[in-house]
């Protein structure tokens, strides 16, 4: 965050309200603007949604209409609010305008994030259909059933293995590519980074193809791994059925996707280590390896922690890969995937919600850290 803006220096607009009690009327208009207009917009969206459901309509037309409604609608909302505010008496305008600016954001956050989150917490204390309060039964159930315990165990494995591999490979690659010429460095990084643009589903297909298995006598192996494995004289292996190693094979997909991210961020950090420090260590006779472990790594430690945390959060919520590759069978389920299965396949909203809460509880320390860091930043602004 930039230090350029200090709150003291911030100019209050000339049409700012006099500090002091604002009238009941003003407050009503504030509430009106920040609530009624967005709600009207939501109703409009709802109406358009049901119109767009028309099955007989041409798909291209429906899509075009959806784009116009979705994109122009939101601009129209703000333009309309501003038009309304300019019709208000002058004294009121400055008081009401901020609420027109933040109102829609607050309404959407409250309706689509805050309310559902609270509701999910409540649901986790209710039965499968959300009709009766059953206390901690869902959590007891969750921590005593074999399949959910396996999911928890696997999730822990994912959270350790994937960040470890992606940070180590990413760091190594960043360090090595730093010694290449400018162009070849950029090119080689692009290749490692590219999987970041691929969806988890797409990546799952890519890797199911690699892990493809045909029993002996059922034709040539078309999966790359078995092709290689049989070429060096082994029997073909059904990789995705090998418990517990199949978990590791699934984790490698996410390592493939996430290493680029770790590499790009860590590479930027390595380049920002002051040249003088590195030179000084070299002059003192340190080998390149020692320069790296004793000088470079300690000075980029905070970035490593940030990257690892970020990857951990992504990994913790991984759902798509397991869902597509094995559907959670063969001892590969994870918490986020289990949550979807519990809710949609078994129609058990209680246990599903409890699993979601497990996902949330684990990130609460991070939430606190974010808020703390933000407050510190604000104090130094």
């Amino acid at each position: 965050m930039s230090l350029a803006t200090e709150p003291e220096r911030r100019q209050t607009p000339p049409d700012a309200p006099e500090p002091g009690p604002s009238g009941v009327g003003t407050n009503l208009v504030r509430i009106g603007v920040s609530l009624v207009v967005p709600v009207l917009a939501l109703v409009g969206l709802w109406w358009s949604g049901t119109v767009l459901l028309d099955k007989d309509a041409n798909r291209a037309v429906v899509v075009a209409a959806a784009l116009v409604i979705g994109v122009l609608g939101v601009f129209g909302l703000y333009w309309g609010m501003d038009w309304l505010i300019n019709k208000l008496p002058e004294r009121m305008r400055a008081r009401v305008r901020p609420f027109a600016f933040v109102g829609p954001a607050i309404v959407i956050l409250a309706l689509f994030l805050l309310y559902p989150t609270i509701n999910t917490i409540l649901l986790s204390f209710q039965d499968a259909r959300g009709e009766m309060w059953i206390g901690f039964d869902n959590y007891v159930n969750l921590f005593s059933r074999d399949d959910t315990l396996i999911a928890l165990r696997n999730s822990l494995g994912w959270v350790i293995v994937v960040p470890l591999f992606s940070v180590v490979i990413g760091l190594g690659f960043a360090m090595l590519s730093d010694r290449l010429g400018r162009k070849s460095e950029a090119l080689s990084k692009t290749f490692i980074f590219m999987p970041m643009a691929i969806s988890f589903v797409g990546a799952s297909i890519v890797w199911r193809f690699i892990y493809n298995f045909r029993p002996e006598g059922f034709g040539e192996q078309i999966g790359l791994l078995n092709g290689f494995w049989t070429a060096i004289g082994n029997e073909p292996v059904a990789w995705l059925l090998q418990e517990p190693w199949n978990n590791f094979y699934l984790m490698m997909i996410l390592v493939w996707l996430q290493t680029g991210f770790a590499m790009v961020i860590l590479s930027a950090a390595i380049k920002s280590v002051p040249e003088e420090i590195v030179e000084a260590a070299r002059i003192d006779g340190a080998t390149e390896f020692k320069v790296f472990t004793r000088v470079v790594i300690p000075s980029i430690m905070s970035t490593i922690v940030v990257v690892a945390t970020t990857v951990i959060i992504t990994v913790w919520k991984v759902f798509d890969i397991v869902f597509v590759m094995t559907g959670g069978r063969f001892g590969t389920s994870v918490v986020a995937e289990k949550m979807v299965t519990e809710f949609f396949t078994f129609r058990n909203s209680g246990v599903g919600a409890a699993l979601a809460v497990v996902l949330l509880v684990a990130v609460i320390p991070l939430m606190i850290a974010n808020v703390k860091r933000f407050r510190e930043q604000e104090e130094t602004r």
């Binding site: 965050m1 930039s2 350029a4 803006t5 607009p13 000339p14 969206l45 949604g49 767009l52 291209a60 899509v63 784009l67 979705g70 994109v71 939101v74 703000y78 305008r97 901020p98 600016f101 933040v102 829609p104 954001a105 959407i108 956050l109 994030l113 559902p116 999910t120 090595l176 590519s177 290449l180 692009t190 290749f191 980074f193 590219m194 643009a197 691929i198 969806s199 988890f200 589903v201 797409g202 297909i205 193809f209 690699i210 493809n212 040539e220 078309i222 790359l224 092709g227 006779g285 340190a286 390149e288 798509d320 597509v324 949609f344 919600a353 699993l355 979601a356 949330l360 990130v363 974010n370």
Partner: protein, 297 residues
């Protein structure tokens, strides 16, 4: 790396040969990692253009050794686009992704401006709540949102997904944009106010043009995120082939034709094409958005 080649007397400069082998070793290791990273995608790309019979008969890597038998076709793509519904799914993905990107950016930009440059009661603690919401896993919202959508008849419609993605994307967007917009020089705002501009005019004519880099970063990040999303699409659009997006189409194809690799590879490439294009052309902005946006819930 240098452990094997570095001379024992560390105070000496490494010899010419040591430096040379060191350089080549670095290049070799880099090349090896790059090959490992690229091969999976290459295999899919090659297989998607091979006739079904060949894809099933031998590994895609034989195209490099067995030139005589190579044949290429677009048929996999035409089959997947037409009869497996990827054509419609591609349109639907656009209809889901573009508004799901534009709506949160617009809403967040207005809110970010207000948080940075307007005075109103509750400004500080509302923003702190936004920061706290940053890491809430979206799984927390799925079950209650679905029952709301079912109640009001919005389930399996595009607006249902737009609004869900807007809600999930807003905390990050507000946070990013507010940091950027708040760091614009205050003298700029002052002189605009003195010239008699309203907040709305300052926002649209001054702040938005100045914020293009951060808007682009978030737009790319959100675009890729929504395009590649399976979970939200599965929950709010799943089960209705009319509105299915590419990730759902690919997942269904995987379920129904799990061993039809000529089709699966073509389908996978259709879902990957647009994000890869966006990525390759706008890599610079993408990196920035990713760096900032990686804590998204």
């Amino acid at each position: 790396m240098t452990a094997t080649t570095a001379p024992t007397q560390v105070s000496d400069r490494p010899s010419f040969w040591a430096r040379l082998t060191d350089r080549w070793l670095v290049k070799l290791v880099i090349l090896l990692i790059v090959i490992v990273w690229v091969i999976p995608t290459i295999g899919v790309l090659i297989s998607s253009f091979r006739p079904a019979g060949l894809v099933n008969a031998n590994g895609w890597w034989t195209v490099f050794t067995d030139f005589a038998n190579n044949r290429w076709t677009f048929e996999n793509y035409s089959t997947v686009l037409a009869s497996e519904g990827f054509g419609n799914a591609f349109l639907n993905s656009l209809a889901v992704t573009i508004p799901s990107t534009v709506i949160p950016i617009t809403i967040a930009a207005f809110a970010a401006y207000a948080f940075a440059w307007m005075e109103f009661p509750g400004r500080q603690w509302i923003f702190v709540s936004v920061v706290a919401l940053l890491v809430v896993p979206l799984q927390m919202a799925l079950i209650p949102l679905l029952s709301i959508y079912v109640d009001v008849g919005l389930n399996q419609t595009f607006p249902a997904v737009w609004l869900a993605h807007t809600g999930f994307g807003l905390p990050l967007a507000i946070y990013l944009l507010r940091n950027y917009i708040g760091s614009l020089p205050s003298s700029l705002m002052e002189s605009a106010h003195i010239d008699g501009a309203t907040h709305f005019e300052i926002f649209t004519k001054l702040v938005v043009p100045l914020s293009v880099p951060v808007l682009a970063s978030f737009a790319i990040f959100q675009f890729l995120w929504v395009w590649n999303d399976l979970l939200v699409a599965l929950v709010f659009l799943g089960g209705n082939p009319d509105v299915q997006v590419v990730t759902l189409a690919l997942r269904d194809l995987n379920g129904s034709r799990g061993e039809a690799w000529h089709l699966l590879t073509a389908g996978a490439f259709i879902t990957m094409a647009l994000p890869l294009l966006v990525f390759l052309t706008l890599q610079r902005y993408f990196v920035r958005g990713l760096t900032a946006g990686s804590v998204k819930g």
